[in-house]
Amino acid sequence: MSDVQEATNQLLDVNLHGNQRSIQVTESAPRSESEHLQVTIGATVPTGFEQTAADEVREKLGSSCKISKDRGKIYFDISVESLAQVHCLRSVDNLFVVVKEFKDYQFKETKEEVLKDFEELAGKLPWSEPLKVWNVNTSFKKKKTKRKKINQNSSKEKIDNGQGDKADERDDKKGFTNKTLDSRILDYYENPAIKEEISTLVGDDLASCKDETDEGSKEETPEVLKFRVTCNRAGEKHCFSSNEAARDFGGGVQDYFKWKADMTNFDVEVLLNIHDNEIVVGIALTEESLHRRNITHFGPTTLRSTLAYGMLRLCAPQPTDIIVDPMCGTGAIPIEGATEWSNCYHIAGDNNPLAVNRAANNISSLLTKSQIKEGKVSWGLPIDAVQWDICNLPLRTGSVDIIVTDMPFGKRMGSKKRNWNLYPACLREMSRVCRPGTGRAVLLTQDKKCFTKALSGMGHVWRKVHTVWVNIGGLHAAVYLLKRTPQAFVHPVEQNGERTPW
């Protein structure tokens, strides 16, 4: 039987019941060959947090990672049995199974020759095992709660995660596009023209779960699979574009498998990642980025959950740590915290009533979701929301163990000029509430210059331990890990009551 035939037969044999055993993660009696399959999985992670993601993989899967030269990607080996656990990783945006990796691909001289090579490449790759993994993954996904439906109804923001020419096919339903985020508008929430809609998605949650159980019993017999190729290309010496590569490689794939090409409604997404001389061919295992998982109510500057997770992990939360986000926006960080570090206590605070309400709604949605999904009796999570002013926090001195926040960049929210006054005041107030000696802060900002200046005057209370350079929607930002020195906070004597920033 030819390779193609075998691969196609695998796919036509989609049998939900047959695969059920292979999805189980617990070790038991010897099983069929496919479960002992070792595969290489690739994961995209927020750039800058590759090491954090690698740590999570080691901790949860026991696998060591290779961090790719192509920033924002890590690779690790697992057995197919662990596939379910891979989906539980919280630091990864997207997952794919590696078909083949070329460490040093030799490109021919002319564009025509290079593209011809890509076309012919399709037929020479070892598809059958990765497709088996794709198969297992697909039947596994059908059982998961359909979060897709929920996300389609909420307002979303288009994020360019700076990873090449991949077309983002999700719709902007409620018009929160980048175009409306005019940098002239200093405070988004202050703009009366932007109507605020806070709708809970509880109804949708329940409806989609009902659909899930109805659909599960219906078995589809796929005739011809639909596919598309997504190409990400980075490098200066290439004589072709990602579109051309995707087109010609896709042509080769189509000839080989006799699949149908479909850009929007595909079953298989083939990935062609080209970074200088390194090429990785993969098959996507996630169809929608996991990074929006916890947030149903988006704000103009909502942070990716994967980034929130990475930031929290950086400060190594200990059981019963009090973790505060004093500028929480929609609450992405505390919500991620309450989900993953439920043995800590999280507080989400913001001065803006819209933001606090959004955060509270996201918390409610989270509680409802976990109630339905896991059938848990638990209603509550160790998280609370407060409306307050970062410069004047209504918290006891030295009562907070960890401060994690996404500081206004001065681009979409706030302004650079405002930051000159805001940043020192923030750092000062944060140093007051943070526990001396053991306390720490993880702060994300794009205004690195202002931050560094503000920090320079605070060496007696804050010590910079580590910096992670990240890319947020095309902006080069930094995540600073600070440790609170043992020195107790001394309330400044106010002479004439005038507050100067330095």
Partner: protein, 120 residues
């Protein structure tokens, strides 16, 4: 607002300083949310909590932690309930020094001071 949060909140009205703690809680609407009991969490949280403030906020709290509380499940369950399961939905927090009232609405305390209160 959970009582553990109340235990951390302090009035920041100008000039009040540490005398702004604890805020006097007046609850008009309370909801009890069951939360998964984690004895370890509660046991470790107890030394971090300001006991007198907790006492004032919840009249069901014993005068002080019992000797050997780490192993007293009944006591830990009671504290778990007080710290995490009682949710104040509507009410007020009052600064003990200045008398300033901060409202709690839909479970969220509003601790913002007006511009006049923060300026000299």
């Amino acid at each position: 607002m959970k009582l553990l949060t109340h235990n951390l909140l302090s009035s920041h009205v100008r000039g009040v300083g540490p005398r702004g703690f604890p805020l006097r809680l007046q609850a008009t609407e309370v909801r009890i949310n069951p939360v998964e009991f984690n004895p370890d969490f509660v046991a470790r949280m107890i030394p971090k909590v300001e006991w007198a403030a907790l006492l004032e906020a919840a009249d069901t709290v014993p005068k002080e932690p019992i000797e050997g509380y780490e192993h007293d499940e009944k006591f830990l369950r009671k504290m778990h309930h007080v710290l995490l399961e009682v949710d104040v939905l509507e009410g007020t927090l009052q600064c003990p020094e200045s008398g300033r009232l901060f409202p709690i609405s839909r479970g969220i305390p509003n601790m913002l001071l007006s511009d006049e209160e923060t300026e000299t």
